[in-house]
Symmetry: C2
Subunit: 495 residues, 2 copies
């Protein structure tokens, strides 16, 4: 009886979630320019409705009754306990704090949008200070309720089970490797380019042809066009709902790789969503596990598959066919594998990206613990950039600590997901390779069946029936481990 009530409860939340997802996608893809105000008002009201229903005190009673007294099947036990986890995460902050945080972070994000283009740190600093003060309080409150360290309590929202105790040594090892490896990879690249200079892949590629190529690739790697679509938006994303995944990209007429690699990345997210278990789609246990596993799926398709030379043996003829070009592997791979030091995280490549993330991971912990104050952030940022990437950002805060939306909008504990995703994608690839040493041969003829079957069994169908580390361990037989990712980078960029 309580379980049935919880099922109705989840169904109501599922419907609101469905509406919010589609409204969000619609806003980015189809909304008329003047429709924004009413849309924002409607979405805020629906979000409020969602939050009120999700945190209804009766839910706690139903959970307790169901967990205590009923004869539940194992799947139901997991579903109730995952719902409880989500309920606790949502109710552990007093509602006046939630409101005050929302106001502060909205103002700070608006201020960031205004101050960033000119890199006006002085204007931005007080706003970020306000957010950091609140985040310290929030981390303390979450830590208290969850019995976790403050930073772990923040990460728990994005990746249940992820802890600094296991991540910090992994990131330390990875950073030590990369700081030493990056100059070597750059030297290898330079030597290669000195014998064969980079050939531009530019031309005139109509959007329709690029889209047709993108759809061909999406379908090839397993995206089900019966349950999804590809549109255009200013910022590529993967939205919608599992039964109707809305992917977007943006096109440049003179280049095809940015859109295509973006499509492959979002396809990775889309495959995860499309292959979640349908029967539990309205329960938290039926949803994708978290940010780092999600990112492991997008990076798996973009990097492990999409930047694998074997993949390009299959893909290059299609690119030639759709775009009327005739490139060789030697023309193309140097673009796909280009390494470059830079200030900007979102423009970074596979080798340098983790250094950007680890820098933020370290600094946000310092900011939260009080070891670092916001006023000292530009210097601290610069010091770490110099040490890891050999670049200074001190006179360029716009491309230093002002480049990301995460902190001004109050998202602390989110950054590690990106690199955890890369590390876990490499572990998944290694696990597949162990079972199936012929995977490159399969991919080179466009056969993704075995790769997808493994991911369906080990990642997608698991949804949220375990913590992030549990799912990783069950899937790969090992805990979070940088060795696979390091080996992957060495193989691809070290020779």
């Amino acid at each position: 009886m309580s379980f049935a009530k919880l099922d109705d409860h989840c169904r109501a939340l599922g419907a609101l979630d469905h509406a919010l997802s589609i409204l969000g996608t619609d806003e980015a893809v189809n909304m008329a320019p003047g429709g924004g105000e009413a849309r924002a008002e409607a979405m805020a009201t629906l979000s409020g409705m969602y939050h009120r229903q999700a945190t209804d005190p009766r839910v706690r009673e139903w959970i307790e009754t169901a967990a205590r007294s009923e004869d539940l099947a194992p799947e139901q036990v997991i579903a109730v306990s995952e719902l409880e986890r989500s309920y606790i995460n949502m109710t552990c902050l007093p509602s006046d704090f939630v409101e005050s945080k929302m106001r502060t972070s909205m103002r700070s994000e608006q201020l960031w949008r205004k101050a960033r283009p000119t890199g006006d740190w002085a204007a931005f600093q007080p706003a970020l200070e306000g957010v950091v003060t609140l985040m310290r309080e929030e981390a303390a409150m979450r830590a208290e309720v969850l019995g976790l360290e403050p930073y772990d309590a923040l990460m728990e929202q994005y990746d249940p089970g992820n802890r600094t105790a296991s991540i910090t040594p992994v990131f330390a090892e990875l950073k030590a490797f990369l700081v030493e490896f990056l100059p070597r990879a750059l030297a290898v690249q330079e030597a290669r380019l000195s014998t064969r200079p980079l050939k531009p892949l530019s031309g005139d590629y109509p959007v329709e042809r690029q889209k047709a190529l993108g759809l061909e690739m999406m379908t090839a790697v397993g995206f089900d066009m019966n349950h999804g679509s590809l549109s255009v938006s200013d910022h590529p994303f993967c939205g919608g709902v599992p039964s109707d995944v809305r992917m977007t990209t943006r096109y440049r007429i003179d280049e095809f790789l940015p859109a295509l690699m973006g499509i492959l990345h979002e396809t990775g997210h889309g495959l995860y969503e499309q292959n979640l278990p349908k029967d539990w789609s309205h329960w938290p246990s039926g949803k994708a596990r978290g940010m780092s596993l999600h990112e492991s799926q997008s990076l798996f398709v973009e990097k492990q598959i999409g930047r694998n030379p074997a993949f390009w043996r299959f893909a290059l003829p299609l690119v030639d066919q759709f775009l009327n070009e005739s490139w060789t592997m030697e023309d193309l791979l140097p673009h796909v594998h280009q390494v470059k030091r830079g200030k900007i995280r979102v423009d970074a490549d596979e080798v340098t990206y983790p250094l950007h993330v680890i820098l933020r991971y370290e600094l946000e912990q310092d900011l939260l613990s009080g070891r670092l104050e916001v006023k000292d952030l530009p210097e601290a940022w610069d010091a770490k950039m110099q040490a890891s990437l050999g670049i200074s950002t001190l006179d360029d805060p716009k491309n230093g600590p002002m480049q990301d939306v995460h902190w001004p909008s109050g998202a602390f504990g989110y950054f590690p997901s990106y690199t955890l995703g890369a590390v876990m994608a490499a572990q998944q690839w290694a696990a597949i390779l162990k079972l199936n040493p012929d995977v490159d041969a399969q991919i080179s003829v466009g056969d993704f069946e075995m790769v997808n079957a493994w991911r369906r069994d080990n990642i997608w169908s698991r949804a949220s029936t375990g913590s992030t580390p549990e799912i990783l361990r069950d899937a790969t037989g090992e805990d979070l481990n940088p060795a696979r990712f390091i080996a992957h980078l060495q193989a691809r960029y070290g020779q």
Copy 2:
């Protein structure tokens, strides 16, 4: 205080309504083929949420308190009383009856979809009997609560204030005129075609060019592209929300008139929605008044403007420009003004359409009162078709009483809206012509400012601040009156 509570209440309903409107549009335009099941589930849950919140017993208390004790501004008084009307209409049926009606009409509509293509009346009859039985009960219950005649109580949902007492004589006069007029109009047409045969307007018109032409026309007649858009769907409609009106059409490659006239029709609906008062958009008093006034707006643009020869002096050069044709007015107008007897309402022209509607208006009253039983409907339908249009449908139920979705889905009292819309559009045109005898000259140069200003002041901005007859009377200075429509038909088709 109670007013503030009602404002919050309307805002919550407004957000759900916004979501349902956009989800509905998205389903028709953007949804992946396999997304239907989850979408139906989400929309049913959100509709249930809407209904539960809309009929919350506390709303009655807030309305009573607000109406009784507070110092309300005149606009607030109207808003509360319109909310009360809507609340009563929504709560006057017991919820078990609502559920049983929903089940019966859903089953009956499904059966209709299956039986219609082969015209299997025997299979369909019992389903329609079930619906009619329930509709008799529903009409009686609504009549009891509202103190109205049963059929009036049903119409009240679609057009507040519309009563058979005023509609029946208007329809009787119109029918008497049309039965006599139709043969005359056909003879006039035949005489014209015998001296100058119909020139086909067919060719090869790419969808993009037809769409560009449609957008040009929409904008010309006043549609604000900042608050709306035009897409493609199987069945054209005007959906979305006032701040973002989603119009759709469908294109044929070989003909341009069907899509263009469809666009003009939906633009009429869109103009009404876009020009409703923004401050009250979440209250019932801020929404469009009802089906017949809405139809008067679409028919105003499609028929009063879009089939007016003056309009084509402006439009024809644009058509030529966008489609690379060079037609004369004499080539085009016979298509725009074609009259033809037919069995199918949705294919009917301006002259024959009202005869289809009046037939249904008469028959659905007979069905509800028990003067007619469903088993005798095919004969009754046939007799009326023979009398008014001189066509028999006895051996063709698919194109007789099985052609419309309205009855099998439980929509009784809706049909009159179509022809009331045509009658009221003619009255509005006459009112404008009286103030502004130069309207044809303005339209012939693409100047719709005066026409739209009058409609904005007299129809659109009124929203639901009066009943349908009140708004009509305030706008045109007269009650529902068939004379203007009759004069319009005589002028356009009688000579």
